[in-house]
Symmetry: C2
Subunit: 266 residues, 2 copies
């Protein structure tokens, strides 16, 4: 090999899930990959304490680049993030793209994988605990429950792509009426529209819960009904990031074990 | 306190997700809780190597009780498992119930939580990476993908409770026709019925994939179409445990990077 044409050794780019917020909910693999990284691109939704606890004492410390990506707010354009990842990886850096939850759930992983592959780079995905599961764990309920004939779960986002048709709320409500649990991400800012669409086909006394910042020290939970949801969320000032869960499985939701729990109108 | 009436100190029972099979996909919290346990009740679906790697050198070694719970096979009755957990926890043991994937997805967590609470015990849930996400990571696709107008994901089980109405396949197929990704657990043994139900409403060329033993060394993946699914699974002899994924998101599924990958009829 001639030195003047030597190219950097390329490493696979890792798309890594940071989990819902509790640093202990990182996987062993995520920790290993993060500590071996030289460049880390981090989403806004990843709690600062997650990365801090992982990188403590990492030598040499990786370059950490914050690339905001929060629904509704000004944030780094997706295109810029993809180009940055590609450039760093082609320069021989060990790049990790760290996302809240799991990168494969509402995380734009498909777009980023395509961009990386188009540049000839390999991609590896390291799963994380998705916020909707962290929320259900805090509430002490399953996403499904045989006892309540709740045998399926639908994951949705309240944050539709501009110009897209948006979710088929009639079909979603029909499915929920058969016992399917709804887990809605990024839905709190559009809560009124979502609740109105669902109330057109579902009973107002169907249990509903909101978990803000699931699994973190700042977590707040609210258990109420579909009919009482909008008022209760407003009254308690709950906001993003939060997960909304609607369904029979919440009948047994735990509301007594934590200081920050509220049950409203059920 | 009088010694003759002294009761054991009770510890919360932990329901812990073991992830899809790769021991590195355990969370830090799962490892900590498992290493502190004195009694561990383990499902069949948890790979032996997962527990072995976690408990290596744990002193004193916990008692490990295998309680099979695999769809369709003879297994320990649910009622017996619940009584065993309660008895051990009331005797002062630090009990962990270790389940494949995440305990809140088709894991009967609701039933076990109710039994433990009825006995006056506290319960804590430690999430795990669910097999359906491990499968998608191996395939290199998201559960959703904005580019394909795939904005929601439905998690189902192919293993209906005896006597239950079973899933509303017509509603499910209608939702899938709008781009919703289907992730079906425990579906391979009922593949013919599931495929027939879906083909009544969905195009035969809709991409479909099966991932057997996702994330383990024995993982096998198959990417085909809904129409070709039954024959392809039979031809390659794929079986449980496996996850079935159906939807547009598979259009970019990775089939070239691993020795065990097959793409059939697409």
């Amino acid at each position: 090999m001639r030195l003047d044409t030597m190219k950097p050794v390329l490493h696979p780019v890792h798309l890594v899930g940071a989990g819902p917020g509790d640093p202990e909910l990182l996987t062993l693999k995520a920790v290993r990959v993060l500590r071996a990284a030289t460049v880390i691109l981090v989403d806004d939704l990843v709690g600062r304490q997650v990365l801090g606890s992982v990188l403590e004492g990492a030598e040499p410390a990786p370059r950490v680049i914050h690339v905001g990506k929060r629904g509704g707010c000004a944030s780094t354009p997706q295109d810029f993030i993809e180009k940055l990842m590609v450039r760093e990886a082609l320069a021989g850096e060990k790049v990790v793209r760290l996302k809240g939850g799991d990168p494969l759930i509402f995380g734009r992983a498909g777009e980023e994988i395509a961009a990386l592959r188009a540049a000839g780079l390999e991609v590896e995905i390291v799963n994380g605990i998705t916020a909707g599961l962290g929320a259900a764990a805090s509430l002490g309920v399953g996403w499904t429950d045989r006892r309540m004939e709740s045998q399926a779960t639908l994951l949705l986002t309240g944050h539709a792509r501009p110009g897209s048709a948006g979710p088929d709320w009639r079909g979603i409500a029909a499915l929920a009426a058969t016992g399917v649990t709804l887990v809605i991400y990024m839905g709190v800012s559009r809560l009124e529209q979502i609740a109105a669409q669902l109330l057109a086909a579902l009973p107002a006394d169907l249990p509903a819960a909101v978990v803000e910042r699931a699994s973190t020290r700042d977590e707040r939970r609210l258990v109420t009904t579909l009919g009482g949801l909008v008022d209760a969320v407003a009254a308690h000032g709950l906001g993003s990031p939060a997960v909304l869960i609607i369904g029979r499985v919440l009948r047994d939701a735990r509301v007594d074990a934590f200081g920050s729990v509220e049950r409203v109108g059920t």
